[in-house]
Symmetry: C2
Subunit: 459 residues, 2 copies
């Protein structure tokens, strides 16, 4: 649904509701996608929510419910009768129920669990034991399993009988008596086979699968590498316990990219959308890194105090400090971002360290020399000639430009090395991004600047 | 395949090859996933590539070919006989062939087109006309289409007859005589229906689809919103011309996240993996932004020259400049990154501008006050007491800390406003990230610092 249509639709439905034309409202919503209905409902005041929700047909209601914000879900559950809650829960997939339970307050969780049948409750409890961000925590237990001795006809019968409750029917997994995963057969293969073919003859027996404890980021990388629709999840004994579908993997990929960007901007990652996060939560996510980086800038302060005499002797030098540290920071950020992304996509590994450094060093020299040349011209033309500043001598220009080359070189090498080291030390490389690199490069560039200045200008 | 296993596998196969045991090598590879075979082959020296590739069964060979790097694809095509090329092309989906053609040099393209049948050649030419990054450029034309008057039995017959060449058979599209898209039916629905049900009775007729000219980023956002397996692509007359499958949408999502991160680090985006990009290409992608940002740091230089007297009167002030501009830059980066990501995920829109600013202002005040308090304690304890620096007076501390609060406030507001403005002006918000914000905040923080210093210290 287009954003501009949303406001119109809200007014239109509000009008219908006030006139009591509920059947027309229902008709409007019945053909919409669940995600769109959820978006639409989120635009109404809270007291309208239960009435609108009750207008939806049962299946659409459950699908819409899954797409809603946690606040709205909680509001709805509190307004539900026991029968209504039961109906929604019956239509939901178990992995969605688990997600819901993880976000709701204890009283609501209690009520939800009371309305699940014992079998589901057992599975939900199993699923909730897996560590956060593990494959087990995002898998669903509702998949189609077949046995190797079935015929294609049996398989279709089974899919028709049980498929309606399964998250995907297009990939069926073949297990033996101990529930060990032994094969995979797609509905495509089934459709293109004869009715009396035996599953063991047509199934694929070398299967890529993940372990319940594998990291969800690994899982989403495997999806983007192998182009699967679903991935089987097995336990330590290679028994099939669940599957992860590609739409869930896509959500993981999106969340992981957001998390990387947040870490790269020195923000502690959170799961909530920007406008739903309270000021206090945002403050808590941002201030620790700001504090740490501010305090580590103490070193740059010390360096400047140390070279106070040199600065006093040649005051014009100070005015180039922001440009030098800015350029250093930007150069370092470029290198670290490129390497962090390459690491997270699996393009670069630890053994490539020297290739990476060698590459960055050459790029840095090229960049440094170009920047220095441009800067020299700018200093002579703008600062000396146009602004009539006699303090900007050729010697000062040489100091600044030489520093520039060294700073870019250092920044790029620091920027590309730290993320790889972090990965090797099993830290998240994304932390070694812009703010962190800038702080280190700031100190480095001041040291280089003053060393070169004292040496060349004899101060 | 685990990274550590790769080196072992390479040695093992190299050993088998040197002993001439080709059948064993083939057996090793035949059960592997195409993406893994491609990874494995990329580890061998170039002259081994053709022989290894020829050992693969026909279908696996084509699937592996699609997963390879452009350099290796070119090498292989040049070593192919005409029959071999024909075989690989026959097995490939047309959208993959188009991708291949776009990356190959003219002589290779010529040879590829000569080996396509006239029908495919016509489609390839059609597909290549769509603008880069449009839905048309990533769609495939190989989908299953049905007509509304078919029965479920007819539909299955059609799927069985034509499905082998289609990229997905799980979603079938219903078109009328003018090829206008009128419905959608999934294989799941077909399997759960009776054989003589009519398609028009069971199809979904309200379908979310995209236009050939829509941006690929919009398409991938729709996939993550609606959890579809495939999305139909229609032309201006609503005629069905192709579909986009979820695995291609996932690739787009990954590429767009990389592009955003690159822009946020002031790198011009490129499609190539990090280690495959030459030094010169990397230099070209990075130097323009570095140059622009360096030259805009001229303003900070001018501000510092302007306040030279104040600096001379109270030299200690200078040593806090890196800390102030660093903290300002980091605060701005946090706000801009959070807003850029929220914009790209559709969580924030232009009409939310004031909510965003109000939120950031409150977060900034909290952060600023905390940082200022910590900094005051640090200045008094470390700089004055431990380092015995008598120049660090309470008045200087007050100037620095007051500046800190103002700088964080300005930085957060600039950081959150610029990306939203960029989006409104139809620029990419990602450009308004860390390096750009830091440069602006640098100048702002110097202005604030010297204004406050001259006012409070009377210099």
């Amino acid at each position: 649904m287009q954003k501009e249509h949303l406001a119109l639709a809200v007014d239109f439905i509000e009008d219908l509701l006030s006139k009591g034309k509920y059947a027309v409202v229902r008709e409007q919503m019945v053909d919409m996608e669940p995600a769109d209905v959820a978006l639409l409902l989120s635009e109404f005041p809270e007291d309208r929510l239960p009435i609108l929700f009750r207008l939806l047909p049962k299946e659409l209601a459950a699908e819409t419910f899954v797409e809603m914000d946690n606040d709205q879900q909680e509001l709805l559950i509190r307004s539900f009768s026991d029968t209504e809650l039961q109906e929604v829960l019956d239509e939901m997939y178990l992995d969605d129920t688990v997600d819901l339970i993880e976000e709701m307050p204890a009283s609501v969780v209690h009520r939800i669990l009371r309305h699940c049948d014992p079998e589901s409750r057992r599975t939900i409890n199993e699923l909730m034991k897996y560590p956060e961000d593990s494959a087990g925590s995002i898998m669903t237990t509702e998949f189609v399993s077949l046995t190797a001795d079935m015929t294609v006809e049996d398989a279709f019968k089974r899919i028709r009988r049980t498929g309606i409750d399964k998250e995907t029917i297009y990939l069926c997994y073949v297990v033996n008596d101990s529930r060990v995963l032994i094969g995979l057969v797609s509905v495509r293969t089934l459709l293109l086979s004869d009715e009396d073919d035996i599953i063991s003859d047509i199934m694929e027996s070398s299967i890529v699968c993940v372990n319940t404890l594998d990291d969800q980021e690994t899982v989403s990388q495997m999806f983007s590498k192998y182009d699967f629709l679903a991935m089987p999840v097995v336990d330590q004994e290679h028994r099939l316990v669940g599957i992860i579908t590609i739409d869930d993997a896509m959500d993981v990929m999106e969340a992981e990219a957001t998390e990387d960007m947040e870490k790269m901007a020195a923000i502690m990652p959170s799961d909530k959308p920007y406008l739903k996060t309270s000021v206090l939560e945002t403050f808590k996510a941002r201030s620790p890194w700001l504090m740490l980086l501010m305090l580590s800038a103490t070193f740059t302060g010390l360096i400047m105090t140390h070279f106070e005499d040199a600065m006093m002797a040649c005051a014009i030098l100070t005015s180039f400090i922001p440009m030098l540290s800015g350029t250093g920071g930007n150069s370092g950020t470029q290198a670290s971002t490129a390497v962090i992304r390459a690491l997270s996509l699996g393009e670069v590994r630890f053994r490539d360290t020297f290739r990476v450094i060698w590459k960055e060093a050459r790029v840095a020299l090229l960049c440094g020399v170009c920047l220095a040349a441009a800067n020299f011209v700018k200093m002579m033309l703008v600062d000396r000639w146009m602004m009539h500043n006699p303090a900007v001598t050729i010697a000062v220009g040489a100091v600044v430009c030489l520093t520039l080359v060294c700073v870019v070189l250092c920044a790029k090498i620091v920027g590309c090395t730290l993320p790889i080291l972090a990965e090797k030390l099993r830290l998240d490389p994304a932390v070694m991004a812009s703010p962190f690199i800038s702080t280190i490069v700031d100190a480095l560039s001041l040291l280089i600047y003053f060393r070169i200045a004292t040496a060349l200008l004899g101060i």
